[in-house]
Symmetry: C3
Subunit: 265 residues, 3 copies
């Protein structure tokens, strides 16, 4: 038996189920029926319930950090059991299994597909007997097992050619200055904007930016460059301009959140 | 060395320790002393402290989803260090290590053993030097290592022949109708009843059910079949009738929880 | 390919990022670029933000439970991007990658190095292009991959000979008795003191101890030896004297926390 063990495959999971819900474990149990060894990695299970936009951020942040060949399963699915499609997507050497919850705001793959276009897309066939409320367990997990066991993606369902992807919000040039918005609040309360790092020189020239009308004038290289409690702006680890409170929470101090306007005058 | 690596074994963990407590990690560290590669899967560590009934639900929901041969370790153990027994149980092709915390209400294996009777049971011998307060680390983890390394379960301790298992609460036929109860509230606030899916036609004929005296008349196939905020009943993914609020929390809206009466008139 | 799969390596992670933050997953994605199979184990990601002392406790509790050869990565790093060093440390057959956040109170390796002196220490070279705010991803994870892939630690950076480690607080003999303090509150609300288990006979002789001025007179062998709600003292699983409330929370009942004085008269 030892000589037959193949190299392990990496599978990530992103859901709004809650880590200890039992639903995550049901999915893992099914996925581990694959004959190949699997390394399961939790990206997040505490995505706010039904918050497709928050999931899209996490997927865009974390999935590309994994090695090529990783299979990512995302289940934030307010439309479970309705006519929304379930998809297999190959992009940038990674595979994704996720609901096609395209909405006026975003789908869970919005950010990842904005960075790396889809190379192939299939609509998963829903197996007979699948529940109407838990397609993560009854459609995505079996598809994952099939893929891990070497089944061709072509057999999972029909090719999709009309996938709609929506670009994340871009900053706009306005009379008042460069206008962007907060697109993510991290666990430290740091406010991540959609102003890319290459706008830093412009911010330095302006000397300040405004977050929801509150002015932030302390521009630093890293959090530790100012005293605890100081409101600072910096280029963070996600390649965008961030606003933070040193060893504090900028979301609380500035009463700001996703969607709050950011302006570089 | 490569050619000597055997196939990995799956080990699940269910505790009330808290995911970041250090106690979970201590157990994992011990388990990973096994010579066989181990895939560790967390089922839940945020079971409410000492809540044997909640743990029994999760174990019954999640453990059977794993492949045969999986070893499940459960540590929700208000009686740690007292005379309650620690057990090894084989049932349905799975192995379980858990305290025998049978109580007037339930033990952690209640639901799983109601579905699949125990084939073999042993009482674990408590090793000399074990702490009196952390038998998960000092008794269950060493037993797991022994089992993973191929030791016969017969050597773990004496055979148990008087295992008491308690059937989960069953619905009753009353003058007012079919009476059941809420047996689990999931992370979305959905209320899972003990009315099995095969009672759905009866519910459809009645046209409504009552949860703690509140009437629910909207019967649907899946959550997305009604507008956000609607209170609905449906057959959920766990094979029982559920009451939910679409994209909301039924436990809050209906002020209901485990034990709340459910009636199909 | 099967015959080329080497034995897996264990890597643990302790951070204050929050389990579902995306930052943890970014680190895991990078670490899994190692060519050797890796078993990732989360020790904790919900360490209070920037709380080096809490992290030091967890690291001291959990890391030594793992097999020799385990690589432990700790990222609780209020000084990220400043001149504090990032270290590779070998101690007791384990390897550690962590910031050298020595402070008046403690660094994250304080407790583990108090138990097992460092055998070798290197200061990690920060790669060109590393962010200034996420050295876990940009410095520690690449160092982990290098180590897992067999690179000599000597190539990671210069040898460190001036590592400062601070002994955890020790109990003191005072006129009023043996004075210690609460050094950790666990997830159950149990209060762990710095009074070692070998002081138990002295406590038994005194018949009581005081926690922040509140007297605790019920000395037991394990939690289940007293009725729910009773305040008890016992020798717990961490080798120190603990104060607990049976099936309750001692931190709440006694209004005590880390730093609260403990006195055996």
């Amino acid at each position: 038996m030892p000589a037959e063990v193949p190299a392990p495959r990496i599978v990530t999971l992103t859901t709004d189920f809650g880590a200890g819900s039992g639903y995550v474990a049901e999915m893992k149990g099914r996925i581990l029926h694959a004959r190949v060894p699997v390394v399961l990695v939790d990206i997040a299970h505490d995505v706010p319930a039904h918050d497709v936009r928050a999931a899209a951020w996490l997927v865009g942040q974390a999935c590309p950090a994994f090695p090529q060949g990783t299979l990512h399963i995302i289940v934030v699915d307010p439309g479970v059991g309705t006519r929304r499609r379930l998809l297999w997507v190959r992009a940038g050497g990674h595979e994704y299994l996720a609901p096609d919850n395209v909405s006026p705001e975003s789908g869970v793959l919005t950010r990842v597909l904005a960075a790396t276009p889809a190379e192939a897309v299939r609509e998963l066939t829903v197996p007979a007997g699948a529940s109407t409320t838990f397609h993560g367990r009854d459609v995505l997990a079996p598809a994952a097992v099939a893929l891990l066991d070497g089944v061709s993606p072509d057999t999972l369902g029909a090719a999709v050619t009309d996938l709609v992807t929506i670009a994340p919000p871009l900053p706009r040039q306005t009379a008042a200055g460069l206008a962007g918005e907060i697109v993510h609040v991290d666990t430290f309360g740091n406010l991540l904007t959609n102003l890319p790092a290459d706008q830093w020189p412009r911010l330095v020239a302006a000397g300040r930016l405004c977050v929801g009308g509150r002015e932030v004038g302390r521009l630093v290289r890293t959090y530790g460059d100012a005293a605890p409690g100081t409101v600072v702006a910096l280029v963070g680890s996600q390649g965008v301009i961030e606003v933070a409170v040193v060893q504090g929470r900028a979301d609380v101090t500035l009463a700001a959140g996703v969607g709050t306007e950011v302006l570089v005058p």
